[in-house]
């Protein structure tokens, strides 16, 4: 539980929580050693007068010599007293300063943590890995100079607004101060994540369907149309926060435009691809996670159960290949057989795919008696133009 809030970081703990107290201890330990050296000087002087007094026959001089000895001895003692006075005064001032400083820092930390919590919960902003689908409180941030990983780069005893990395680089602890410019990694699988994750409102949409239902084609074409037709006329700005996703999308659009089929999706547990959507007038945009699992993910129950990202979903797109509907397939058997290689009918029955999707929903989202599943579902019929 404690490790959720505090894990040792490769950074320096700030002065009021470590250094300030170490300084008090160091001053106490070392000032006495130095005072001993100066006091010794006075004691040595005293010893000289003591020796003189012992061998003096004149009583008056003897008395004055002894007085000098006493004076030097007192001077030696006074060295400790003055040193202790200074150190005690310092310790009191330092103690009070550190307590006030630490208290103020804790207060600012609490305010920042609470504001951050409210902001994230109000806007529904979460750090979710598009690769392993883990949700984390905070991703790992990487120091740009020494590549050290910082797992809790937030206001803490390592710094309220900045953490000073072991290499000396100042890492901002807030997105406002530029934390999102750092490389961030998933805390679970350590895969680098794009910088928009954790700063935009999450929307998770899986595209579901059996093998060869045309999910990938649909995603590419729908995204292209969304960006070109819908976005431009309504003032939406679209972007791929992950440059790999952009390259992948562009190459897929190119393949489809040249009539080449897309490369078959093989990931049973898919990597979500991210698309950011923002209106020019909005201060905060959305980051869409589109999950394109291979159709085989719904081919058996074990694979279906691995679709753990269902717990986050905001809506579903269910792709139906009409050629996988028995009645329709029987009715058009001869036409389908003639075009089988280009149509590539899905071999998974629609009803089975739907049932498996429902089973995962029940297991992850959970249904309540008498209540409907609140997330919308879009049913998309693909390949409708195949038989004219």
């Amino acid at each position: 539980m404690l490790s959720k809030f505090y894990t040792a970081q490769p950074a320096q703990i700030i002065y009021p929580f470590a250094g300030g107290w170490q300084v008090i201890a160091y001053v106490f330990q070392n000032i006495l050693a130095r005072t001993e050296a100066t006091a010794k000087f006075w004691y040595l002087q005293g010893d000289t007068w003591k020796a003189k007094a012992k061998f003096e026959t004149n009583n008056l001089l003897k008395y004055w010599y002894w007085s000098a000895f006493a004076g030097f001895w007192l001077a030696g003692v006074v060295q400790y007293i003055s040193a202790l006075l200074i150190v005690t005064l310092f310790a009191c001032i330092q103690f009070l300063s550190l307590v006030i400083w630490a208290g103020f820092a804790l207060l600012v930390m609490a305010i920042l943590a609470f504001s951050n919590f409210l902001y994230r919960n109000y806007y529904k902003i979460y750090n979710r890995c598009p690769d392993c689908h883990e949700q984390m409180d905070i991703p790992i941030f990487v120091c740009p100079t020494c590549a050290t990983e910082h797992s809790q780069l937030w206001p803490s005893i390592y710094g309220v607004f900045h953490h000073r990395c072991k290499c000396g680089y100042k890492l901002p602890t807030l997105n406002l101060l530029g934390r999102k410019k750092l490389i961030q990694k998933c805390a679970a699988c350590r895969t680098p994540m794009n910088n928009e994750i954790g700063s935009m409102i999450n929307i998770h949409i899986p595209v579901i369907g059996g093998p060869s239902t045309g999910k990938s084609n649909y995603i590419v074409m729908a995204t292209a149309q969304l960006m070109e037709d819908y976005g431009k006329t309504r003032g939406y700005l679209f972007d791929f926060p992950d440059s790999n996703h952009r390259l992948n999308f562009e190459s897929n659009v190119h393949r489809l435009s040249t009539g080449s089929p897309l490369v078959k999706t093989t990931d049973i547990i898919p990597q979500a691809y991210n698309l950011s959507i923002k209106r020019a007038t909005n201060s905060i945009g959305n980051i869409v996670y589109i999950y394109d699992a291979a159709g085989e993910a719904y081919a058996d129950e074990t694979n279906t159960a691995q679709q753990i990202y269902y717990q986050f979903i905001h809506g579903l797109i269910f792709i139906v290949d009409p050629f996988s509907i028995d009645n329709y397939a029987h009715q058009h058997l001869t036409e389908i057989d003639a075009l089988r290689t280009s149509i590539r009918p899905s071999d998974l029955d629609v009803q089975k795919a739907f049932e498996r999707m429902k089973a995962v929903l029940e297991a992850t989202v959970g249904f309540k008696k008498g209540k409907r599943f609140s997330q919308p579902i879009a049913i998309v019929i693909s390949k409708t133009d195949a038989l004219n």
Binding site: Y26, R34, Y63, V78, I86
Partner: protein, 72 residues
């Protein structure tokens, strides 16, 4: 009888003179000599105190600087 009286007065005068010598000459001289001793003690102790404060502050700032340099 009269001679005895004069003799006693002379003794009294002598004792009074001795008293005056002790009170106004011997005791102050002894006092001064004793005070010189105390002054020696006080002076040296004061010098020690002043130098102690100076060296204490000097040592303190040196140690403080050292402590902070060791933190980095």
């Amino acid at each position: 009888m009269e001679k005895l009286f004069v003799y006693l007065i002379a003794i009294g005068v002598v004792l009074y003179v001795i008293y005056l010598i002790i009170v106004y000459i011997v005791v102050p001289i002894l006092g001064i000599l004793f005070a010189i001793g105390l002054l020696i003690i006080g002076g040296i102790a004061l010098a020690g105190f002043v130098s102690g404060i100076y060296l204490g502050i000097k040592n303190f700032f040196e140690v403080l600087q050292e402590a902070h340099s060791k933190l980095i």
